[in-house]
Each structure stands twice: as structure tokens, then as C-alpha cells.
């Protein structure tokens, strides 16, 4: 029996679809860790990026935070969080949140900066006040790039959450780490397949959401869905 056949058999074995180490539970843990980190990161990063972009301040900071974020090894951040705060989901979520912030700040900053100055002036001329202009004119136009930032972060957080298993966390990374430890390579391979599929599904579903949230008037214009202000890969 070839190796790939064995992996397919591992994946279809009913025993691997139930219990606390079953695929549904591991998948749910992975999605939960990632979703909490991205949501927490968005709560911090989006207001910062949007305000900096709206007022046009600290542009270097907003852009360079992604360059700095790229240089920080995610593996180290996870281990440091684990050693500083101990076992459990909280240290893992804190580490993942830190990694989620930079691309969202940069993308939302660029998104607001790119809103046409003429449009802002027209809004002002029509009597929009600062806040109304931001919420009703600038934000809708900035949605595509803001969403691109969320998508970039989410894909990276899903990837990095795989490493949570190294610091005794849950998620799909468990199969890879446990498989390596016990030298059961079918388990390693099957786990890797699940992780890769989850990352691709995250990318595709958020790209679809981005398209759905883009105002109709912007859709046919220049912007392809894949456009983002910064590429970011930490795990």
C-alpha cells in the first residue's frame, strides 16, 4: 500500500473523527484560537490604522510596523508567551494577536490614505462633518484594502496556530507535532493536509467576503481581489 493510500485511510478512519483528539474537535479548537486572535487583533489594529490613515499621521510607523512584524519569529513569540504566562489558551491567543496586528494596521492605514482627496473635499463641501465623512464616505471606499488586511492576518494566524501544539496547545497542529514525536508519518501528512486546506479555505472565504463587502461602484474598477498593501508571512 502506498504512503498516500495510507494517509487517505488515516483520514477516513472513523476513529479519527470522534473523541477529544478527533478531527472535528481539533478543527474547532484551531478555528476558535484563530478567530479569537484575529477578532482581538482587529479591535486593536483597525481603529489605529483607520485613524492614522484618516488624519495622515505617523505614516512611517503604520507602514514599518509590518516590516518589524515580519522580522519577529512567530515560533519564539509563542514560546516566550508560554514561558511567561504558562499553559493554556490565553498565552497562545496573546501571541497570535500580536502577530495579527501589523498587517491590519498597515492595510487599513493605506486604505484610508488612498481615498481620493477630491472625494473628501466634495464630502466636506456637501456639509459632512469629520465623523460622518469618515464613516459614510471614506470607510466604504477603504473596505477592500481593510478586508485585505484582515484576510492577510487571518491566514497567517491560522498558519501560526499550527505551532500552538508545540507549547501544549490544541488545534490541528497536534497531529503534525504528535505524529513527528511518535514517527507516525501518515498522521503527520494527514494533519498537514488538514492545516493546508484550512489556510486555503480561510483565504478563499475571506476573499469572497471582501468582494461581497466592496461597494458596487468600486467592483469593476482596477482593484483585483488579491491586492493588498503588504505581504506578510510568519509561519
Amino acid at each position: 500500500m502506498t504512503f498516500l493510500m495510507q494517509c487517505a485511510r488515516w483520514l477516513t478512519d472513523p476513529a479519527h473523527w470522534q473523541g477529544p483528539d478527533g478531527i472535528p474537535i481539533r478543527l474547532a479548537q484551531h478555528v476558535q484560537l484563530s478567530a479569537e486572535a484575529v477578532a482581538l487583533g482587529a479591535l486593536i489594529a483597525l481603529p489605529i490604522g483607520i485613524l492614522l490613515g484618516h488624519f495622515g499621521r505617523f505614516g512611517n510607523l503604520a507602514i514599518n510596523i509590518s516590516n518589524v512584524g515580519r522580522a519577529i519569529p512567530s515560533f519564539a513569540i509563542l514560546v516566550i508567551a508560554f514561558q511567561a504566562f504558562g499553559l493554556g489558551d490565553t498565552p497562545i491567543i496573546l501571541a497570535l494577536t500580536a502577530l495579527a496586528i501589523p498587517p491590519m494596521v498597515t492595510n487599513s492605514y493605506v486604505a484610508l490614505r488612498e481615498v481620493d482627496a477630491d472625494i473628501k473635499e466634495a464630502a466636506r463641501g456637501m456639509g459632512y462633518r469629520e465623523l460622518a465623512q469618515l464613516v459614510r464616505v471614506e470607510l466604504p471606499l477603504a473596505v477592500p484594502l481593510i478586508m485585505a488586511g484582515i484576510r492577510t492576518s487571518a491566514v497567517q494566524v491560522v498558519a501560526t496556530a499550527t505551532l500552538a501544539a508545540i507549547v501544549a496547545g490544541g488545534g490541528l497542529g497536534r497531529y503534525i507535532v504528535d505524529g513527528f514525536a511518535t514517527q507516525i508519518y501518515t498522521k503527520v501528512f494527514a494533519g498537514a493536509l488538514l492545516v493546508a486546506l484550512l489556510a486555503l479555505a480561510t483565504e478563499l472565504s475571506l476573499a469572497a467576503l471582501q468582494r461581497a463587502l466592496t461597494p458596487r461602484g468600486l467592483r469593476s474598477l482596477n482593484a483585483p481581489a488579491s491586492r493588498r498593501a503588504t505581504s506578510f508571512k510568519t509561519a
Binding site: 519569529p73 514561558q83 501560526t160 513527528f180 501528512f189 493546508a196 503588504t230 509561519a235
Partner: protein, 218 residues
């Protein structure tokens, strides 16, 4: 563990050779991955620019590779290439391809059509025009891509510690296994410092080679 300080200078003093060996491996892994990535991505980018039909396939395939989490990619390779240097380099090189190929395409696209007309008028054949006119003008974007790819690779290498390679990641792993902070902190600081030095060095090279390129980002 409560009495374990974040940095134990005595340990560091007696383990400098270990740290330097890890740093050396880290630099070597980065150099090979980015060079190999460039050797593959440059022709890919040129093809994608020259034949527009190829543009989407090139960017989609390298984009899918880029999306795959690194631990998963290494796990896919281990049954075939083992817990080896080669496995680490195949994975790391794969991740440079999207950044480099896209920047090659962007760079070539940014060459003004007037310049291409002038080159044609001066009698350049397509290949000579590419080498002597288009690629030099695309260099700022390509250099920007090399910088991003290098910094990304330096961060990702730490994860190869899980397949027995790792560079500075070995020290992170050691800190984790022994519940000992010093190697962890030393490796993290050195990793960030290495990324910074590499980025600034490449920025310096960029200024020397293409002085007109200030401010081009990836």
C-alpha cells in the same frame, strides 16, 4: 522556573560557540533560500510578463504555495526528503517565489513604453532589450522584493527547528525543552537583529546599484 532570569550571562559566556554556529547556519539557510528563489522566480516573472496568459497561473501557483502554513509544507516533504537541510530549503525557497516573481512582474511593467520604443529604434533585439534595458529598470522593484523575501525567510527558518534544522530556532527549541529562558531570548534578539541588518545592508546595496530607486516598496 520562577528564579530563572530572562538572561543568564554566565550561560551565554560559556556558550558563544553554540550561538555563533546557530547564527552561521541561519545566515547560510537564508542565503541559499533567497538565491535559489531568485534563480526560479526571475525566469517565472519574465515569462509572466512576456506572455500575459502565463501571468495568472504563475501568480496563482506561487500564491497557493505562499498560503500553505510552513509546518504543513515541511510535513508534506519529510516522508520524501527526510528531516534534512534539503527539506528546509525546499520549503523556504517556495515561500520566496510569490514575493520575488510578483516584484519582477511589477518591475518589468513599470518600464515606460517610450523607453521600450527607443530601445527598439536603437536596434535592440528582444533578448538584448530585456537584459540591457528592461531588467536594469526593473531592479528597484526586484531589490524591494529581495528585501522582503530575505526578512520573511529569516523569521521562517526558526520553524525548521521542528524538523531538526532551525539555525537560531535550535536555541528557541532548546529553551522550550529545557524550560530555560536564556537561549530563547538570545535567539529571538539575534533573529530580529539579523533581519534588521540584512534589510539595511540590502537597502544600502540598492542605493548603490540603483540610486534612483529610493522609496520603492514591495
Amino acid at each position: 522556573m520562577p528564579s530563572d532570569p530572562w538572561i543568564n550571562w554566565d550561560w551565554l559566556g560559556t556558550h558563544i560557540p553554540l550561538v555563533l554556529a546557530a547564527l552561521q547556519q541561519h545566515v547560510l539557510l537564508t542565503g541559499i533560500a533567497v538565491s535559489a528563489g531568485l534563480v526560479i522566480a526571475l525566469p517565472l516573472g519574465i515569462v509572466a510578463h512576456r506572455w500575459p496568459v502565463m501571468r495568472n497561473p504563475v501568480l496563482t501557483v506561487t500564491g497557493i504555495l505562499y498560503t500553505i502554513p510552513s509546518l504543513a509544507l515541511f510535513a508534506f516533504l519529510v516522508p520524501y526528503t527526510g528531516l534534512s537541510f534539503l527539506t528546509a530549503e525546499i520549503g523556504l525557497t517556495s515561500y520566496t517565489l510569490l514575493i520575488l516573481a510578483r516584484n519582477v512582474v511589477v518591475g518589468l511593467e513599470s518600464v515606460p513604453p517610450d523607453i521600450l520604443d527607443a530601445a527598439d529604434g536603437m536596434g535592440y533585439r528582444p533578448f538584448a532589450r530585456l537584459i540591457y534595458v528592461e531588467l536594469p529598470l526593473a531592479l528597484p522593484a526586484i531589490m524591494a522584493g529581495i528585501r522582503v523575501a530575505t526578512v520573511t525567510t529569516i523569521g521562517l527558518i526558526t520553524i525548521t527547528a521542528l524538523i531538526g534544522i532551525g539555525g537560531l530556532g535550535q536555541l528557541i527549541n532548546k529553551g522550550l525543552i529545557e524550560s530555560f529562558h536564556t537561549p530563547l531570548v538570545v535567539a529571538t534578539v539575534l533573529c530580529i537583529a539579523l533581519a534588521l541588518v540584512a534589510d539595511l545592508t540590502l537597502a544600502g546595496v540598492q542605493r548603490l546599484v540603483v540610486p534612483w530607486s529610493r522609496g520603492v516598496r514591495a
